[in-house]
């Protein structure tokens, strides 16, 4: 029953995509590229939400911090950003663990409200700290390989952004492998499903939470490095990604990482569609948020009774 629904839904979506592609090919291409970026950022949030059961409202901001780190490594030391993101991700891993130890671990037993407010506060501190250190002046790296483009019939389009799709797929596959095949990953899954039970069979729940939070932070760190190669940076750049990531995770259903990719696909294409009409680009955000609310509501109604 459920399987049939997924197959029919998938088939309908595919047909719509193909039709859209014939009508407005760039919408589909840019939509898919956006979906790559969105899901690459959202999947680590889904990991934290699914296992630590914490909504990290500083999620997009951590990506921003990593992008700045990469930026300074690239400009001061002359590293290629795609190389510089490796040390940045390592730093972010440590940073994630620090944040977990110093703050989040102390509010795990508190009501959800406290956790939300706490991570909201962390987000503010990150944005403002970067604002103090690096000012709010936008920064951009010019990297020559990002301008690579391809031509399909009449249509010209950039191909570098497909790197985000690859990144998202790599993160997803990597995490699936980690969660299913490694001992630590399986323990993490068990903790996510039933922390008390996991504790009883001897899994160190606190350490698992810390590790998962660190891994998720390191992953957004990697995404931040890639983000820098394409977009300009300013302290508030991460905020919308926090919201969008949460929306995608909520749409996909908490604990369902692969579905995040499909949720992102829908939204990426919808955004690209609106943006393709001249002069309506500014409304793209609103489509996104309207969709968020609609989908979260539908889910909550269905789960309600």
């Amino acid at each position: 029953m459920k399987k049939r629904l997924i197959i029919t839904g998938g088939a309908v979506a595919l047909v719509l995509l193909i039709l859209l592609f014939l009508w407005k090919p760039t919408v589909v291409i840019y939509g898919v590229q956006r979906a790559g970026l969105y899901s690459a950022i959202a999947i680590p949030m889904g990991l934290v939400l699914g296992i630590v059961h914490i909504v990290n409202l500083a999620h997009g901001e951590l990506m921003m911090v990593s992008a700045y780190l990469t930026y300074f490594l690239a400009t001061k030391l002359g590293m290629d950003p795609l190389l510089a993101l490796i040390p940045a991700a390592v730093v972010l891993f440590g940073f994630g663990i620090l944040i977990y130890r110093l703050t989040i671990s102390h509010t795990l037993k508190a009501p959800e409200l406290n956790q939300l407010i706490l991570t909201f506060g962390i987000a503010i501190v990150l944005v403002q700290a970067v604002n103090l250190i690096a000012t709010s002046q936008p920064r951009k790296l010019s990297v020559d390989y990002v301008t690579a483009s391809a031509k399909m019939g009449e249509v010209h389009f950039g191909i570098y952004d497909f790197v985000f799709v690859a990144l998202a797929v790599a993160i997803l596959l990597g995490l699936q492998w980690f969660l299913k095949k490694t001992k630590t990953g399986r323990a993490a899954l068990a903790v996510g499903q039933n922390p008390k039970g996991a504790q009883l069979v001897g899994i160190n729940v606190d350490r698992t939470y810390m590790l998962v939070f660190g891994i998720a932070t390191a992953l957004v760190g990697v995404v931040g490095g890639f983000f820098l190669t394409k977009q300009s940076l300013f302290p508030a750049v991460g905020g919308p990604f926090t919201m969008k990531s949460f929306a995608l995770v909520a749409m996909a259903g908490i604990g369902n990482l692969p579905a995040i990719f499909f949720a992102a696909l829908g939204l990426g294409v919808a955004e690209a569609f609106i943006s393709s009409f001249q002069g309506y680009g500014g409304w793209a955000h609103i489509v996104f948020f309207a969709l968020i609310i609609a989908v979260i509501l539908i889910r909550s109604f269905r789960g309600g009774k």
């Binding site: 909201f120 503010i124 501190v125 604002n131 709010s136 500014g282 955000h285 909550s300």
Partner: protein, 325 residues
């Protein structure tokens, strides 16, 4: 009984101080107080909804809606400054009523993030609505309220804050408090004792949002302009939140104390730290949640109970770890 008399005396003295403040203080402290009052109204309005357990990150959204509505009411409906302030509040309340019918089925993180998204949606709509709402450039009033006369405009903001305090106390002293507290503790228990959870939440959401809209309207009438970026600025969510938390949530006096303390500190902070002074609010939020989740008011209560229950007994002092459930 004596406690009650002391309390009301203090309140009356404070009220008189607030009323004669423009006569004893210069224009600069007056303008600080006006800003503090606007934040106080927001912090307290936010707390009213929080008493039901619903966390809103959409303060700036309803604040901004009220601000825009009141400016438009002056330019399009020829309303006077004071009635435009009320109009802003009513408009925000009406929008909250319509949205509340839908989003109040959400709880916890879903509700919190939806309110955050709503604030963003309002901003995006107004930014893109060039003809009517002025688009990215915003709107300018032909003249500010009372032509900028300092004392009446001070009294206008004071009036707004007194309305919010009045509303909060009305909630605290009446049966509404019982409904909100019951819902915050356990919705199923609340329902089983006859509380209509949805209606109660809707009332609280409409009230909260209307008060926020009124605060925004007052601010826009004072300064005479609104823009999407300034009026819907995240500061209007962040500062009230930090203020209410620092003072202590779930009651009238916590947010009032918190906004006075933090609002006045904020003014000096701006002088010493023109950029990025907001970091201080972020740090305060984190520290309060970690070490003092019940704020100043909770701290005072703890000391009070400790003094009453004798020295040896350490009844509720460990409650810094305890959560404000």
């Amino acid at each position: 009984m004596t406690g009650k008399i002391v309390k009301s005396t203090v309140l009356i003295v404070l009220l008189i101080l607030a009323l004669i403040f423009p006569m004893i203080a210069g224009p600069y402290p007056q303008s600080i107080m006006k800003t503090v009052f606007v934040y106080m109204a927001l912090a307290l309005a936010w707390d009213i909804l929080l008493r039901s357990g619903q966390l809103s990150f959409g303060i700036a959204g309803f604040y901004g809606l009220g601000a825009y509505a009141s400016v438009l009411a002056v330019t399009h409906l020829n309303l006077g400054g004071v009635s435009a302030v009320l109009f802003g509040g009513i408009f925000s309340a009406l929008v909250a009523l319509l949205l509340g019918l839908i989003i109040l089925r959400l709880r916890a993180m879903y509700f919190a993030i939806t309110t955050l998204a709503l604030a963003e949606i309002f901003r995006v709509i107004i930014r893109n609505w060039k003809g009517f709402a002025g688009g990215p450039d915003g709107l300018i009033l032909p003249s500010v309220v009372f032509d900028g006369a300092p004392v009446p405009s001070y009294l206008l903001v004071l009036g707004v804050v007194l309305i919010v305090i009045g509303a909060s106390e009305f909630v605290e002293k009446g049966r509404f408090r019982f409904a909100l507290t019951a819902i915050r503790n356990n919705e199923i228990v609340a329902k089983s004792r006859g509380v209509n959870v949805f209606t109660t939440l809707l009332k609280a959401f409409v009230l909260t949002s209307g008060l926020m809209g009124m605060a925004g309207a007052a601010f826009s009438q004072l300064y005479g302009f609104v823009t999407p970026e300034n009026t819907f600025s995240a500061d209007f969510t962040l500062l009230p939140l930090a203020m209410a938390l620092l003072g202590g949530i779930y009651g009238t006096w916590g947010p009032v104390i918190g906004s006075l303390v933090l609002g006045i500190i904020a003014e000096y902070l701006k002088l010493f730290m023109p950029y990025g002074h907001l970091i201080v609010y972020g740090i305060i939020i984190i520290l309060v949640i970690l070490f003092m989740p019940r704020g100043f008011v909770g701290l005072i209560r703890d000391i009070d109970t400790r003094n009453r229950s004798g020295k040896g007994e350490d009844t509720k002092t460990s409650s810094s770890k305890e959560v404000p459930a």
